[in-house]
Amino acid sequence: MNWRMINAEWLKLRRRRGLFWWSLGLSVGVVAVVFGVIEGLHLANPAQHGPAGGLTGLTRGLIGLSSAGAVAAILIGAFAGTADVSAGVFRDLVATGRSRWELFAARLPGALMFFLPMITLGYIVVAACSLVFRGSMPAASASVIAQGYGWVVLSTGFDLAVALGFASFTNSRATTIAVLIGWQFIASPLLLQVSWLGSVRQLIFNSALARLNPAPALEGPGSTTVTHNAAVAAVVLVVWVAIMLVAGGWRTVTRDA
């Protein structure tokens, strides 16, 4: 793995102002606003609205962060996967003699370098709000907070990898964003409700991610999932990532530059 190339990928993303602020807003801003609104309602009318924090707040924050973070991950993956080709720079990179697989391989770590600090900051906001605004409710333990962080990173990192592979394959930012957001928030929730699909639904990665979410164990939202086995969930996620990245890499290697 070439560190200089990864750093270059990171540079391309972080210097894109619109992407930076949108991603930061989705990763940090959304959960901060949601916690602020709920706590405001609680302070205005404690009888009607509970405190924003506590275990329930953490669970709610996890789901919110993973959803908004998924959109940010899709945006970043779409940009990272198409940046060189759409700017017309891909041919200049190929003309350096560097292998196309290496050019492709630098994209994911570069995108993660850009995204992980944001999602970490977002999770710090969630965890801090769950502690500060817990009122009389029980606080989440350090173990639960750590599990929640691991899951958010897994969930949004997965979305990022899938988006990057898909974008590299289609070489269309708009298509990638439309298809993956449509899948994430419309198609897959609907398919998961189609009971006659039975265990085939386990192949839907949203179900696998939901299975690994620590929130159901805390009786939070998303506690129902068709995937019952954690190992199956892990395999489904690995296979999806592998398929998307191989497809994206294959297209990068075979396309005319």
Binding site: L93, A95, T96, G97, S99, D256
Partner: protein, 323 residues
């Protein structure tokens, strides 16, 4: 894998060598069985009309697109098998130089330097200085003029410390001062022992800049060699201006050294026959003597300068007639 700078290109004579190179798009042959030899340390012009196959050939040579058949050697290395070795010392601008517009000039060079060998990063500042962009290097490329982008493209090539520069239409969009500057830059590169492969449809520029040239049309190399040989390949033509054009026309037309004669308002243009036994200077002297002895007053005798452009049009129009 890092590039190995210890394995410098061998002492090969040709910077680019293609044999039977063919590229097809479906049924259409874009590059047809091309044999091209570009000698080291020369400025080599590659000319042809729009759509002739210039850019496709450049892309095929660089391995940016797959060839249908044939062989390519760059700096002695076989493409695409040894592409990492061959391209390590090649800088190329294909079509127009494109960049990440949201990055600065310097950052764009950092992106490409990262894909090259580790020393490339240290060449960024000298490359920017050489193309005159050191003061504007930290501005976003979005704000650059076309000329600045062309120069930044050359700076990007210099990151390779190139033995071979492949420049595809580098003078597009440049003003006359920019073209002159570019010409000097190319001469400088050749002076340093680098090879410049200049693909262009601006024949006058190629004639001024290059010492060798190849002409391509419809995917076929029609001719290649020294510019002066190709430009001078047309039969010598001499323009006579005199006081009695009618008399002169009759006299000159009857002379055995004259192949063709053409009358204009102010002069008579004579094409000299070029059999091995015919010496052009002697023939012109004979014609001059003939006119003077007949009492024709000669105002001027001028050799017609044959440009590469005229020669090119002659060759390509001949192809059209044949085709």
């Amino acid at each position: 894998m890092e590039f190995n700078r210890d394995s410098e290109p061998g002492d090969v004579e040709a910077a680019i060598e293609t044999r039977g190179l063919t590229k097809r798009f479906g049924d259409r042959v874009a590059v047809n069985n091309v044999d091209l030899t570009v000698p080291r340390a020369s400025a080599f012009g590659f000319v042809g009309p729009n759509g002739a196959g210039k850019t496709t050939l450049v892309r095929t040579i660089l391995g940016l697109t797959r060839r249908a058949s044939g062989n390519v050697r760059l700096l002695g290395y076989s493409m695409p098998e040894q592409h990492n070795l061959a391209l390590a010392r090649v800088g190329a601008i294909v079509e127009e130089p494109l960049f990440h517009l949201h990055l600065t000039g310097r950052e764009n060079l950092q992106v490409v330097a990262a894909a090259r060998e580790p020393h490339a990063h240290a060449r960024i500042a000298p490359a920017l200085a050489r193309v005159g962009l050191a003061d504007r290097a930290d501005e976003r490329v979005r704000a650059y003029s076309m000329g600045m982008r062309q120069r930044l493209g050359v700076a990007r090539c210099l990151l390779a410390d190139p033995l071979l520069l492949i420049l595809d239409e580098p003078m597009n969009g440049l003003d006359p001062a920019g073209i002159e500057e570019f010409r000097e830059m190319i001469n400088g590169f050749v002076g340093e022992g680098r090879t410049v492969f200049l693909s262009s449809h601006l024949l006058d520029e190629v004639q001024k800049t290059c010492d060798r040239v190849a002409i391509i049309d419809q995917g076929n190399i029609l001719m290649q060699g020294l510019v002066e040989d190709i430009a001078g390949g047309r039969r010598p033509t001499v323009r006579f201006r005199c006081d009695s054009p009618d008399v002169a026309e009759d006299l000159l037309g009857a002379h055995p050294a004259v192949e063709q004669i053409q009358r204009t308002d102010s002069a008579i243009i004579v094409t000299i026959r070029t059999e091995p036994s015919t010496d052009t200077d002697t023939a012109v002297a004979d014609l001059n003597r003939l006119l003077v002895e007949a009492g024709v007053s000669i105002f001027a005798i001028e050799a017609e300068r044959v440009s590469l452009e005229e020669r090119f049009l002659e060759i390509t129009s001949r192809l059209e007639v044949t085709g």
